[in-house]
């Protein structure tokens, strides 16, 4: 059954599904990073997601912001690396923006993405076009902003589509941030690893909310 909004427990279940999806994608995420970076993006994300699953299973979350923030904290402290910082910040700052919400809906999604994207860009200094996860995140954020009045499941679907398009478009960019920046033109032709993770995260959320 497609969801209009999620309760705290459903949000926990959705993020647990996100963690599973990222863990399952470890090999492809590491491979993506091998092309442009040091080949460990999947390993870092997997380490983070195992910590996230442990944290989520503890339960006792009063509101959805706490769930997202706990996820961000778990990632940040277990992962390290560039992705620990940026994905940790995404969930922590995104969660902060939902302060006290007891449900997660399309408006919440937009708030989450606004806070999270701002946080990531401030922390890392990357702008769209630098060939980082921001190239999937920022289009997702724009899509969510236009989808505030849709049911959550539909809002998540258009957000995920935007993230996927952003990931695909990152193939053609020249890296100017992160490890890939020294590659110059040679960075063309491969999608950014972090952008691949962003696409998986929102696609999994959308699938969950669609009830499939």
């Amino acid at each position: 059954m497609a969801k209009q909004q999620l309760s705290v427990d459903e949000t926990v279940a959705m993020l647990d599904a996100v963690a599973d999806a990222i863990i399952a994608a470890e090999p492809e995420l590491s491979e993506a990073d091998r092309n442009l970076g040091d080949g460990d993006h999947g390993l870092g994300m997997k380490r983070g997601m195992e910590a996230v699953k442990a944290k989520l299973s503890e339960g006792g979350f009063e509101s959805v912001d706490k769930v997202f923030m706990a996820m961000g904290m778990a990632m940040m402290s277990s992962m390290g690396g560039a992705s620990g910082a940026v994905f940790g910040t995404l969930f922590r700052n995104g969660g902060k923006a939902l302060k006290g919400s007891e449900t997660f809906d399309a408006a919440g999604l937009a708030e989450f993405l606004k806070g999270g994207t701002e946080g990531v860009m401030t922390r890392g200094g990357a702008k769209p076009g630098d060939k980082t996860m921001v190239d999937a995140l920022e289009p997702a954020q724009k899509a969510a902003e236009l989808a505030v009045s849709l049911p959550l499941s539909e809002a998540l679907d258009t957000t995920a589509q935007a993230a996927e398009a952003g990931r695909d478009a990152s193939k053609d960019l020249i890296a100017t941030m992160g490890r890939a920046k020294t590659l110059g033109e040679a960075s063309i032709g491969h999608p950014d690893a972090g952008a691949c993770s962003v696409a998986i995260i929102f696609r999994t959320m959308a699938t969950f909310a669609a009830g499939n």
Partner: protein, 339 residues
């Protein structure tokens, strides 16, 4: 490509296990603090503290540079991953003696973000933190964009000198000044003959044809100025030093330097010495005086084959700090210029 044969237990626990092994190798001089920090046991009150750190998998650095007249502590990340902010915070609190902490580490996006967050957390606890980024790799960006350069093997002479200075200076300002000076006086360039691999997967960190050399590569195998056909030791040494001499820092006749010839892993000590022979010929032609040479595998990328050259230009102050003795699990020397 077969997976390299390694002596491991749990391939996902390498970073934690090696840190335990390192602490034990310090024979009581250092201890583990928090999740993954290594800290000297005796840091005098009031000392300006020096903290280094970064991802693991590059052993013996950075964590092997904690010691007498070297760093006071290191924040250690997982394999090829910057330490998380809480690890940085733990290390910062443990080395702090009331007079501020200098963060000195390599310029990588992951390290910068995590150390910055650690610094913010430390400042919340009223610890003054200053950061000096190491960006010695001339191949990674033009001289006009130093902040885009990454830190490679030049960290060894930089930390050696900053560590000695940290014993002597009276303020964080002073230590920051010396660290910036030695950083700005250091240039490096690296090359790769074959990739290292990630312990958890056994996968090579990059692909390189059998008859090519990656020139200007980073310590994870990040590409630099490009690939050239495999050539002799002398030819490659010449090409690499040319990249350093083409940079903005002048090395003139009569200048005194520290020369560091580093193996990234599988390259043998024999090869380093063969390259050193040529490097010294080139330096002698330019009238550059080598105050002391370091040769060895100190800044690695698992079993990657490759070498790097680093040059640190000395002035009287830097030489005084260089000449102090030091001792750690990574680099030790007696007083003076001996080698």
């Amino acid at each position: 490509m077969s997976v390299p044969k390694k002596l491991l237990n749990d391939p996902n626990a390498c970073a934690a296990e090696l840190l335990d092994g390192l602490i034990l190798a310090y024979d009581g001089q250092c201890e583990k603090v928090g999740k993954a920090s290594i800290v000297k046991k005796s840091i005098p009150d009031g000392k300006v503290a020096l903290l280094v750190g970064g991802g693991s998998g590059h052993e013996p650095i950075y964590h092997g540079l904690v010691g007498t007249n070297l760093a006071d502590g290191a924040a250690c990340g997982d394999i090829f991953a910057a330490p998380s902010p809480d690890i940085v915070l733990d290390a910062t609190k443990a080395v702090h003696r009331g007079n501020g902490v200098l963060f000195l580490y390599g310029n990588y996006a992951g390290d910068v973000m995590n150390f910055d967050m650690g610094a913010e957390l430390a400042e919340d606890e009223d610890i003054e933190v200053r950061t000096v980024l190491i960006w010695d790799d001339v191949a990674s960006a033009p001289p006009t964009k130093k902040e885009d350069r990454r830190g490679i093997a030049g960290l060894v002479p930089i930390v050696k000198i900053a560590g000695a200075a940290s014993q002597v200076v009276e303020s964080l300002d002073e230590l920051e000044r010396v660290a910036i000076k030695v950083r700005d006086n250091t240039r490096s360039v690296g090359c790769a003959l074959a990739p290292g691999s990630i312990p958890a997967t056994g996968k090579p960190t990059f692909d390189l044809a059998d008859d090519m050399v990656g020139l200007g590569m980073g310590i994870h195998g990040e590409r630099g100025v490009g690939e050239i056909p495999m050539c002799s030791a002398d030819e490659l040494t010449g090409k690499m030093l040319e990249l350093i001499f083409a940079d903005d820092l002048e090395f003139a006749s009569g200048d005194e330097v520290i020369l560091f010839v580093n193996s990234l892993g599988a390259t043998t000590h024999m090869e380093l010495l063969i390259c050193n022979r040529k490097a010294r010929e080139i330096l002698a032609e330019k009238g550059i005086i080598v105050h002391q040479t370091i040769v060895g595998p100190l800044v690695g990328c698992q079993e990657m084959a490759g070498i790097s050259f680093s040059l640190t230009k000395l002035d009287d102050e830097l030489k005084k700090y260089w000449d102090m003795p030091c001792q750690s699990a990574c680099y030790s020397k007696m007083e003076g210029r001996q080698s």
